[in-house]
Structures are given as C-alpha cells and as structure tokens.
C-alpha cells in the first residue's frame, strides 16, 4: 500500500515542514519528522515541500482476480411487496454499466410474498432475478437479510452491487459489504465503469461542498448506494428476456435477535419547513378562490402551499403558511413563486432553496433577482396549462407506479 516516506537527512527546517500539512499530520518530535494518523494521502507535502524530503512510495500488492467476479447486481428494495422505484433507476444504471463491460445484470429480490413482483422486475431488463421468498423475511431485520445477501453474492459473484440509499439500503449495504470485507461508497451521484470492471464512483462529501471520486481497485464486489431520483428509470422492455431463479436457504441462517412488534403507518403532516416542494401564492392572486389553482399545482407536485404576508393579512391563508422573516424559513428542493414580487423580508425566508422558479408578469419584479428560472408571464394562463400537462402525464401511467396512489395521495 502507498505511504509517504520522509528522508530525514534532507529536511532542513522541520518546523516549517510540519506546517505544510493542512491536516496536522506531520509531527516533529525528538529531532524526527513523522507522519501521524491524520494523513489523508493528499500529497500536498510532496507538492509544496522542498524536493526530495517527502516521497510517495507505492508497493504493488497482489489484487483480487477480477475475472472471477462478473456482472452488475441490484438489490430490489421493497416494503410489504411494494418495490421502491429507486430499484428501477438502479436497474437502468446497471444495464448501462453492464453493456460497457459486456456482462449480465442480476437482481436480488428478498422478502415474504414478494415473488409476484419478479415479473415486473424483469420488465426493467435484468438477465436474472434471484428470489428469496421466505416468512423470516417478512419484516426487514438485519441478520436474515444479510444472510440472504451473502448467499446471493456467493452464488452469483457479481463485480458490482448497487443498493438504493433508502432506510433499508443504508442499513443493509454496509453490513453486507463488511461481511465481504470490501468497499462501499455511499450516496453516489455518478457511476461509470472501466474495461477492467473497476467502478468509478463520485459522491458528495462535507455536506455537498466537495465531490470525491472513489475507486475500489483491489476488492470485489464493489458496493455502492444511490439515493432515489439520482438516476432515471429506464423504459420497460416489451419482451423481457430474463429468467426468475427461485432460491432456498437453510432456516437456521435466518435467525434474528430482533422482534418486530408493530408497524404503524406514519401520519405525515408535513409543515412547509419540511416540504421538498413548495408553491407560493403572492399578491398577484386576484381573489381567494384562485388559491384552488395554487393548491392543485402543489398537489400535482406532491408539495405544500405557502404564501406571502399580504395573503395572510387578507385572511386567505394561515399564518403557519407564511414564508419570510416574520414567518417560516424554508429550504425545499423546488419552490415556485406565483405572483410574488419578492420583497426582501420574503426572500430572506426562501433564498437558500435548491431551485427557485418565479412566475410574475412584471419583468422588473425583484423576485427575478433571486430566481434561478424567471418566467415572465401570466400565471392565470401558465399554471392551468401546466396542471393539465402534469395530469395527462400522470394519467398515462408515468411517475406514479401502481400502489403509490393510496400511500402518497391525500397528503398534499
């Protein structure tokens, strides 16, 4: 493994050399310079230090035989037999990667009374779906699920394993990766694969202020988790080519020290602070009834309705819906302001939102200075047209897989 070697004889001014390291990993004690555990191998000391003092030494270590590990596997994330849509997105990415290295795509489906979901999985293109349908897998409990994952990996020997960054995936993937003493990269936002099957993984760190490019060069399988909505779900294939493989596992391997006593559906009363999508009504709204249009748009986007202060003073909306210095501060993934001029007191409560779309007739409205996308136009024409388009899209079966409506509906 690589290390940094210090050539003591060439070190002239040890104190200043110690200062080279931004991680305080260079120590000077008892007349000897040394590297402590803070070292991140950034090699800045080699780059910025005097020539020849610090040296990067790489010793070749026999790696894993990569030809023994083939294919890209996806864990099918499910609760109560309902497949989480991140699974489709991962199958799409897995297919893309597998085509590049000309290897198969596998899917692992584990649960109880879940076998019925396997044919649907095949429509997203994997070559084989491995199904473990067992009563011990009714609830997600870590020991039996890890045992099944281990069994699957030993059977298939995939080079890459993709797992959704869901609450299940974020618990299961690290456990399974540790069992194989291999690497796992969490919350990847980009994935690519090299001809030698090394997976290029890119993920944000430090709260998204930095991106890291990560490889797992000497271990297999290579685990990565990806959050929902990072990749796109592929179109279903007309004639699935894959096959379903029924798997058994010895019951004693499925023992668990966890006893699930109760599962209660969560009453999700999302306030505007927690909402991922917010539609804001402003003074441009002509009458109270027009709020229906705003509500409809929010419902279509699975979001919440908020407003500026003027509508609250008019008694059209509730104080808990107010955004701004005298109301709530929000930071949603998407905020659409409709007929909002953009007074400073309002903007201060929402300007950290990830994507700000402003609709206003007045091209000079201050909100356009804050918006990422400024739409100059009449909201009374644009919004109904937009709602229609979204309805048509959803009616065509996009965006809301079967079973979703009763779980997600009605909370907007």
């Amino acid at each position: 493994m690589p290390q940094i070697v210090i050539h003591q004889a060439k070190a002239q001014d040890p104190q200043s050399l110690a200062a080279l390291c931004p991680f305080d990993a260079i120590e000077f004690a008892d007349g000897i310079l040394s590297i402590n555990s803070g070292c991140r191998m950034c090699r800045l000391c080699i780059k910025n230090g005097p020539q020849g003092v610090f040296e990067y030494v790489e010793d070749a270590r026999p790696g894993v035989d990569k030809s023994l590990w083939r294919g890209v596997a996806v864990f099918a994330d499910q609760t109560g037999g309902q497949i989480h849509p991140v699974t489709w997105e991962l199958l799409g990415k897995a297919t893309e990667l597998a085509v590049k290295i000309k290897q198969p795509v596998y899917c692992l489906l584990a649960g109880y009374n879940v076998a019925a979901a396997a044919p649907e999985i095949l429509e997203y293109g994997p070559d084989e779906v491995y199904v473990y349908d067992l009563p011990e897998l009714e609830h997600f409990r870590i020991e039996p699920y890890t045992a099944v994952f281990e069994d699957f990996i030993n059977k298939v020997k995939p080079s890459v394993v993709l797992v959704g960054g869901t609450s299940i995936g974020r618990s299961l993937a690290p456990r399974a990766a540790a069992r194989f003493r291999t690497g796992l990269t969490a919350d990847c936002t980009m994935l690519d694969i090299r001809p030698d099957t090394d997976l290029d993984q890119i993920r944000p760190a430090y709260g998204g202020n930095i991106m890291a490019h990560i490889n797992t060069p000497n271990h297999r399988p290579q685990f990565a988790t990806v959050r929902y909505k990072i990749f796109s779900a592929p179109e279903k294939v007309a004639v699935p080519k894959g096959r379903i493989v029924r798997c058994e596992i010895a019951p004693e391997r499925l023992a668990s020290a966890i006893n699930v006593l109760e599962v209660k559906p969560k009453r999700r009363e999302v306030g505007i602070e927690e909402a991922e999508v917010i539609v804001v009504a402003g003074r441009g709204l002509k009458k109270r009834e027009d709020l229906d249009m705003i509500r409809e748009l929010a419902a279509a986007l699975d979001g919440r309705v908020a407003s500026t202060r003027s509508l609250i003073e008019a008694g059209w909306t509730e104080p808990r819906q107010q955004i701004g210095l005298s109301g709530r501060t929000v930071k949603p993934k998407l905020i659409i302001t409709c007929g909002v001029s953009g007074a400073i007191q309002f903007v201060a409560g929402m300007n950290n939102s990830e994507l700000i779309v402003a609709i206003n007739e007045d091209e000079k409205a201050p909100i356009f200075k804050t918006a990422h996308i400024g739409i100059v136009g009449d909201m009374y024409q644009i919004i109904p047209a937009l709602i229609n388009k979204i309805r048509e899209y959803k009616a065509a079966g996009h965006g809301s897989p079967a079973g979703c409506l009763q779980t997600c509906g009605g909370k907007a």
Partner: protein, 266 residues
Amino acid sequence: MRIAVCIKQVPGTAQVEIDEKTGVLKRDGVESKMNPYDLYAMETALRFKHDYGAEVDVITMGPPQCEAIVREAFMMGVDRGIILSDRKFGGADVLATSYTLSQGIRKAGNYDLIICGKQTTDGDTAQVGAELAEFLGIPHVTSVCRVLKVEDKSITVDLDLPMHIETAAIQFPCLITVEKGIFEPRLPSFKLKLATADRKIEWLGLKDLDDRNEMHYGLNGSPTQVKRIFPPESHSGRDMWKGSSGDLAARLFQMLKDKKFLQQAR
C-alpha cells in the same frame, strides 16, 4: 448495563472549500468539534445511566487532538473514555474505521449496548454503525427515534422509517443508531469539568489490539481509495424565460419532468 457510545471529532463547519489549483481541502483556521449527531447518541446513553444506572463509555478514533471531545464527553457525565490513535490507523475508510473501532470495543469491555449517531457531518456516509455491528457479530437497527422500554435482556424502540413507525425489541448485545432529536442533548457541566479534569483517558494503539496485522488498518485496510476531490458544479446563472403562455407552460413542464419532480415522493 454497560454502554459504549462511538463519537468522532469533525471540522467545526461544513463550509469547507477546495483550493482550485491544488485540489486540496482548505482547512486553515477550521475549528474542530464533536460530531453533532453524536450528542444525541451520548444523551441517550446518559439517560440510561440516570434511569437504570448504566455505565457509559465513549470511544473514538483519531489523531491525538481528539482528546478534546472525550474531555467534553466527561463534562456531560460519561464515565470512561477510550481513544484509538496510531499512525497506522490513518487514512481509514468506512471498513477500516469500523474494524478498528470493533477491535477497540472488544478490548475495552463487554458491552450490552453500542450507540452511534445517525451519521457524521464530514464523511456523511452513515455506514460505520452497521459495519461495526457486523464486525462485532451483533444485531443492529438504525433510525431509532424513541425508546419505549429497557429490560434486562433487551431494548424496545421505535424506528422512524419513511412511511412507517416500526416498533421492535432487540436483544442485547446490540447496536443502535439514533435519530437527531431522540432526546435534547444536555450542555457540558462546569462542575463535571472540574471533577473530571484529571480523569485518565485510555489510549489504544495497534500494539494494544488483538489483531496486530497492520494490513487491516488505516489506508492499508481500506478497500476504497479516493482518487481525487473536486468542487461541485455550481448552479450557474439566472435564466429568464419569455414567450407565449402555452410555450412557457410546456417548457416548465419539461423542466419539472427532467428534474424528476413529477415522480412520487418517497
């Protein structure tokens, strides 16, 4: 009952920047602090100390400077502090970190319960808890939002899942990771600061562990390698759209579709 809480020292702010030229983190003048999520893990343990007389230890891995957060833990009421520090531990990824912690915990004692925070603010991976449980060979649950019952041989908790609250009983020994907000963390006490000023911290290096094979630790024991770090693409400039209402609606629809706002939220 014996409890170990895993803690970590992290940069005091997430506002770190990258030097565009060298591609290296700018860390000048960045203060360190205890990972804020660990405060909830520690608070959970300290409630058990109060309610059930549990003994609470903290364990951390890091450079010598991380003594500061162990001292801070003492000021909150933690009984014992263990620091895993060795230059051989440096450059560890999730696997090597979890393995090192597991070795330290095995050395430190027989614990009934290990508590971890949800994640750290620097690595952000939320994986160490699950990997640590695997190396210790004990069950784990994540997303604990409420403790319902603590008994001799088990703990009953609520798990905060996306669509459900799940109630589960887990037998000891086990590992749990707790959500932010499970309890309100206490502030360090000045009285305890004085009382614990001389308390000895236990330092463990590679030579103190059962597995002394240095290939299992630090950079050597890390399957993942960071090839490079770089600044994220910034949300560039502002975009002004003009045109007929129909066109604007169509364009907005396309943008919402492309950015996946038309899919179900989960």
